[in-house]
């Protein structure tokens, strides 16, 4: 209403001034002249004086011929075809760009009462300044490129999308040509490239939680345009996740999910912290063996078959405290991307899935601090510019005080127990110039626990990555990355001096890679790259730590290996409906000496007794060499307006294996490189999907199916010793795996009520392959793997009452995991024993959980010292005793089964988060 009234007033004003204009005649003949020339010419011939904004006119050219004409007609001719308007008042000529006149004023400009009250919460001068700045940017017409004389045809514009406040790259922003069908999405580095027709164009840029902005441009040739987006602090009536609306349907990716930290923050969390892995677990096709168990199982893959990357560095231990916390501090995360299938050729080295976690770069504009305090952990992040708009630093730390809590419990059992962790991050980003930037990021973490014994377990991981980005041209950019990962654990036992010892394991890897992205043309993008990884493993050592200790020192020989890969991939839009991605990765692995290799009698099953010779491989010589091609294919076909069908096939090879015969990832699990006997794991997956956006994009439906084959999966002989075993090949079994499933997901990405419902039917089986009956499990038949949970469903909902209250309710259901249980008892030598079922013949009861959380934001003054929020969450609201594990105890004459539930009652947490 108000706006209309305002328009009327201004139109009326314009009309009156037009009537009262003075009479001066002008003669002109201008061709492709600037506005300044035009104005100067008129001012020379007449008393008129021009008032205008430079941004509105500086990229426009005017051609006009006038012979003793009135100013009004001259300007009408000159401005024809532009958005410029003019008003003449006495001798003043006001040149405006029509839209800006009306829109740049605050909507309630004339409502003084309202304005007065709003001044309390809104600093208008500041707000207006920012608004005006934004307007002037939006109104400006950017000239792109240099004309090659041909005004027709297409040109490529490229650049980066960044956050105006922090200067950080924005991933997944959509850049769409207005009035056209062309569009693209900014990549992981905020980089985009778009082919558009030459001439006057405008584009619209949208991103989650950011204000939508437009850019006008006059495109002469290929050129660069970087765009800053402003954080949207105003109430949004429209949809929140607009940019992702069509991505699922349009993109080529099958079985991939992208989560931004804003989505994750809305979900209820146990123990008061946003947890990446817990959120990922609510996606269809992702499972864990139980609450508080480390590691995720993606589409029937083992926990060690996921490539987890943090700023491109491989992460070996993704959780703290047995999985109750993920290793990633939520405050510094930017995006998390999970690929369950359709993995592009740049990723490799693990069989099952890729979880790519990227941290923020740090605020380039001003210093800020954020953090949170919950009953168990505290965390803080500091960030800011070292040099404004060019160099930023981000430092964060997180620690737990649970050891302190344990000591408060009045029990001898608990007093002897300790458990604690910390992690710290640092990221330094530097923009060298428009075309180059460099980022250094470091991460370190340490966990320690001692549970009711004198054995102290500790493990830690340190990662570092150095990334150099360079835009070579608006079609080609390259990223050069070096990463380093160091993971290790230690188990110290001091209980009995005679047995005092310290067992250690360690792994280091150094990785270098170069990735190139080439926008060939509007329909083709080429990616290619090269990766080299060097591994060094300390497979285990045991050192006596007391002079009386009779434990002998044992240090297994180091292992080292090289893994390298080259890849090339191409995105090709064959027709607007049909796009394909084809990629191939060729990986090459060598396990290197120095190393002793045992040679076994090939007639019998491998054992210490069947060693007949030892081969000494000298330094740098290959112990074993493996290589192979890994084809990656994806295809998308758009059906109708809002639906698409996709197919993908990929093969993955894995040269490093986790040795574990426990169900969950245990802190004492060790890793092993492929060698003469441990063959690389190879996995093939075909996946297909149907995607549809319903109700004008407010609902996304996806249906995905997959089938997977796995080869050289590692399984173990019963009772195998994995730690400090120098001939693990005598205990390892070679298994084959297969997995298949169906995943359904209905997502409402935006609106007051948003969230998703998902269901997955998935099966996964293993089969040991050996001629020797001792080396087979379940007589060589297929048996369900530990994480085979056929049915899983999630309901994730989030309701925004208003800007400050946000309510979230989730339900999770899954079939119980398979277990091996005792069937019968018998007696030998007067001692009662139990006889077990076939492996994984039975299941624990089904899992069901309800969580709730409420987010309360502080007030929304932009200018105030600290922004704070409270999160109240209740994990397992109904207190259902979900079974985590089943165990059996001898009680008198009977063997009784018990089920253990971890979170058997509701767990309320309250977390205070702040930012200033």
């Amino acid at each position: 209403m108000l706006k209309n009234a305002l328009l009327t007033v201004i139109f009326a004003a314009t009309f009156t001034v037009c009537l009262s204009q003075s009479n001066s005649r002008i003669t002109l003949n201008l061709r492709e002249s600037s506005f300044e020339t035009l104005a100067l010419e008129i001012e020379k011939q007449s008393p008129f004086h021009f008032f205008y904004k430079k941004e509105w006119v500086d990229s426009l050219k005017f051609s006009v011929t006038a012979n003793n004409e009135e100013l009004e007609s001259v300007l009408t001719k000159a401005f024809n075809g532009t958005t410029l308007r003019f008003s003449i008042y006495k001798t003043s000529v006001f040149v405006t760009s029509e839209r800006s006149v009306f829109a740049s004023l605050p909507t309630d400009y004339f409502d003084t009462q309202k304005r007065a009250t709003q001044r309390i919460t809104f600093d208008y001068s500041d707000y207006e300044k920012q608004e005006k700045k934004q307007r002037s940017i939006e109104e400006k017409v950017y000239t792109i490129g240099i004309s090659d004389g041909n005004p027709n045809g297409n040109a490529t514009i490229s650049g980066s999308i960044t956050d105006m406040n922090s200067g950080e790259a924005i991933v997944g922003a959509s850049i769409v040509l207005d009035g056209g069908s062309n569009g693209t999405v900014s990549d992981i580095n905020g980089f985009y490239s778009l082919v558009i027709p030459k001439g006057k164009q405008s584009i619209t840029v949208r991103s989650v939680g950011m204000k939508t902005t437009k850019r006008k441009m006059s495109v002469l040739g290929n050129g660069k345009l970087s765009i800053e987006l402003e954080e949207d602090v105003k109430p949004l009536k429209e949809v929140v996740i607009e940019s992702d609306r069509d991505e699922k349907v349009m993109s080529l990716k099958v079985g991939s999910e992208k989560l931004d930290i804003k989505t994750m923050k809305q979900m209820p969390s146990v123990l008061g912290e946003v947890d990446v892995l817990k959120v990922v677990l609510t996606l269809p096709g992702v499972q864990s063996v139980g609450e508080g168990a480390s590691g995720i199982n993606v589409r029937g893959g083992a926990t060690n078959q996921n490539l987890i990357l943090f700023n491109d560095a491989v992460v070996y231990n993704s959780t703290h405290l047995f999985g109750f916390f993920s290793a990633f501090n939520p405050d510094i995360l930017k995006t998390v991307e999970l690929y369950k299938s359709g993995v592009n050729a740049e990723y490799g080295g693990r069989l099952s899935a890729v979880l790519d976690v990227a941290s923020r770069e740090g605020n380039l504009k001003k210093f800020t601090a954020s953090g949170g305090i919950s009953p168990i952990t505290g965390r803080i992040t500091l960030e800011g510019p070292i040099k404004k708009d060019q160099t930023s630093i981000l430092v964060s730390g997180r620690s737990t005080y649970s050891s302190w809590l344990l000591r408060q419990i009045d029990s001898r059992e608990f007093n002897k127990s300790t458990a604690s962790f910390y992690d710290a991050n640092i990221t330094l980003s530097h923009k060298i110039n428009d075309k180059s930037s460099i980022q250094l990021s470091g991460y370190t973490s340490r966990d320690q626990f001692k549970l009711n014994s004198d054995t102290l377990y500790s493990y830690g991981e340190t990662n570092a990555s150095l990334k150099f980005k360079r835009v070579f041209s608006n079609k080609l950019y390259g990223i050069f990355t070096g990463t380093y990962t160091d993971y290790g654990y230690e188990v110290g036992n001091e209980e009995i001096p005679q047995q005092a010892n310290n067992v250690r394991f360690g792994i280091q890897q150094v990785n270098g890679k170069a990735d190139f992205n080439y926008f060939m043309n509007q329909r083709q993008t080429l990616t290619a790259g090269l990766q080299v990884t060097h591994y060094r493993l300390e497979p285990g050592s045991r050192i006596p730590t007391h002079p009386e200790s009779i434990v002998t020192e044992k240090i297994l020989e180091q292992e080292q290996g090289h893994e390298s890969a080259v890849y090339v991939g191409e995105n090709y839009e064959i027709t607007p409906k049909l796009s394909v991605y084809g990629g191939i990765r060729y990986s090459f692995f060598q396990s290197l000496g120095p190393k002793d290799v045992y040679l076994y009698d090939s007639e019998v099953s491998r054992s210490q007794q069947s060693i007949f010779d030892t081969l000494r491989i000298s330094r740098g010589k290959p112990v074993a060499t493996y290589h192979g091609a890994e084809p990656r294919l994806s295809m998308r076909y758009i059906i109708g307006k809002n639906a698409s069908f996709k197919l993908s096939y990929n093969r993955m090879r894995q040269y490093i294996h986790m040795l574990s015969n426990t169900t969950a990832i245990a802190p004492t699990d060790i890793w092993k490189l492929s060698d003469r006997y441990i063959k690389p794991q190879v996995g093939d997956q075909i996946a297909g999907g149907y995607y549809q956006s319903l109700k004008g994009g407010s609902l996304d439906l996806s249906v995905e199916v997959y089938y997977k084959w796995m080869k050289n999966f590692l399984d173990y002989k019963d009772g195998a010793t994995l730690i400090l075993n120098e001939h693990i090949e005598t205990d390892a079994l070679n298994a084959k795996g297969k997995a298949y499933g169906l995943e359904l997901m209905l997502k409402k990405p935006a609106g007051k009520l948003n969230g998703w419902i998902s269901y997955a039917y998935s099966r996964t089986f293993l089969r040991t392959v050996s001629l020797n009956p001792v080396e087979t499990v379940n007589d060589g038949k297929y048996y369900p793997s530990n994480y085979d949970k056929p049915h899983a469903a999630n309901f994730i909902s989030n309701y925004k009452f208003n800007r400050r209250f946000n309510f979230s309710l989730n339900f999770t259901y899954s079939t119980g995991r398979p277990i091996t249980i005792p069937l019968a008892k018998y007696s030998i030598n007067g001692i009662e024993r139990t006889y077990y079922s076939a492996r994984n013949e039975f299941r624990i009861p089904d899992y069901f959980r309800t969580d709730l959380s409420i987010n309360i934001e502080g007030n929304h003054k932009i200018k105030k010292l600290a922004h704070s929020s409270w999160t109240l969450a209740v994990y397992n609201l109904t207190g259902r005793a979900n079974v985590y594990s089943v165990f059996f105890i001898n009680e008198g004459q009977e063997i009784k089964g018990y089920k253990l539930s971890v979170f058997a009652k509701p767990i309320p947490t309250i977390t205070y988060n702040f930012r200033f």
Binding site: G290, G292, P822, Y826, T834, Y836, F888, K899
Partner: protein
């Protein structure tokens, strides 16, 4: 229950006691679980082979293990000579023969009356090493019994021990009277029923390997732990340690047995497994439980006397379920299922008797025997 607490604390410590434990009934009650259970050993020290045949029962069953008394059992040596084993009752088959010697190959053959045939793999009887010492370490929480041995020849890498424990215990009260022909009479000294001896095979499996140890020596390897206030330590406790040599297959088997009997399938435990013995059914995949092995056996017995232990071990261990009640002489005669402990006098007048339950005055109700073992000091 201790193991259970450990397992729980493993996780619960992190969860601030929110964990919960409830009974779980495995869904397998109806399955036929009466598998044949074989325990066979050729003791080449005394040239005797013994095999015990029983059957498995469901977990919830409290009945005895059924014995297999009617099978044909024999042991075949490398020359093809079959030495039959004779059933001596209680499912125990045995035979003594000069053919059972160290370093030879043997195979166990079994045929049950339902016509099923079973056989073991071929095993070799192994030389033994004599036990150097069995020592005790009295610690704050209890007593650790430790074994030391060594093999000068260096041919033995793996060992297993089994333990037979015997201990003296007393009932809460001693019954000094008994009914004889409806009359109460003083019980004779050698007919007392308050002191018993209980002998039990220990379920603890101790395996050891000298693989990682200097000069093939096992030094102070813990074989059993006795808790400080255990009823076994109230008077005199004795344990006989039998040490067997093992090959790798035997060690793997017993290691698996040890691991699976201590951990019953927690999340961080190794997968419990159906432990395969070295006996199989001929011509069917019917499961057979058990292991057949052989070799020389070395034994050693030790005694632990309560009065020689530190004072905190010598605490009186009252039975909270037992109490003495009073009955007048007439009532006393009508007492049923009770035992008279002592007579109560006022001055010289008998005014009644103290009595208690059978469980509190007859030690045999707790599973022991009155007869003192021959080896008892």
């Amino acid at each position: 229950m201790k193991a259970c607490i450990n397992k729980i604390s493993y996780i619960a410590t992190l969860l601030f006691l929110s964990a919960c434990i409830e009974p779980f009934d495995p869904p397998v009650q109806n399955k036929d679980v009466g598998f044949l259970v074989v325990d066979g050993y050729v003791n080449s020290s005394n040239h005797t082979a013994t095999v015990r045949l029983t059957r498995a029962i469901p977990l919830s069953s409290t009945s005895d293990y059924p014995v297999v008394a009617t099978a044909h059992v024999s042991i075949e040596n490398a020359e093809g000579v079959k030495i039959p084993l004779i059933h001596n009752g209680d499912g125990l088959y045995s035979s003594t023969s000069p053919l059972f010697v160290t370093g030879k190959e043997y195979r166990l053959l079994i045929q049950t009356t339902d016509g099923k045939q079973f056989q073991s793999v071929v095993i070799t009887t192994k030389p033994g090493a004599s036990i150097d010492s069995v020592t005790t370490d009295v610690e704050e929480e209890g007593i650790n019994v430790r074994l030391s041995t060594h093999d000068p020849s260096g041919s033995i890498t793996y060992y297993r021990c089994d333990l037979v424990e015997t201990w003296e215990y007393h009932s809460a009260y001693s019954s000094n009277f008994e009914f004889i022909n409806g009359r109460l009479e003083l019980r004779k000294f050698d007919e007392r029923i308050n002191v018993c001896y209980k002998t039990e095979a220990s379920s603890a499996i101790a395996t050891a390997s000298t693989l990682d140890i200097e000069d093939n020596r096992i030094s102070g390897h813990p074989v059993i732990f006795l808790e400080k206030l255990s009823a076994k330590l109230e008077y005199i406790y004795s344990v006989e340690v039998s040490q067997y040599s093992l090959d790798k297959a035997g060690y793997d088997y017993w290691e698996q047995m040890r691991v699976s009997s201590q951990t019953l399938g927690g999340l961080f435990d190794p997968q419990p497994a159906r432990i395969k013995g070295n006996i199989s059914a001929i011509g069917s995949d019917e499961p057979v439980i058990g292991f057949f092995d052989g070799g020389e056996v070395s034994r050693r017995r030790i005694f632990i006397r309560n009065r020689e232990l530190p004072p905190e071990y010598q605490r009186y261990r009252p039975d909270p379920n037992c109490e003495e009640l009073f009955a007048d002489p007439v009532e006393a005669l009508r007492l049923n299922g009770q035992l008279i402990t002592s007579a109560v006098y006022e001055g010289i007048a008998l005014i009644g008797y103290q009595y208690t339950t059978i469980e509190c005055a007859d030690c045999r109700t707790k599973g022991g025997v009155l007869a003192k073992p021959s080896f008892w000091p």
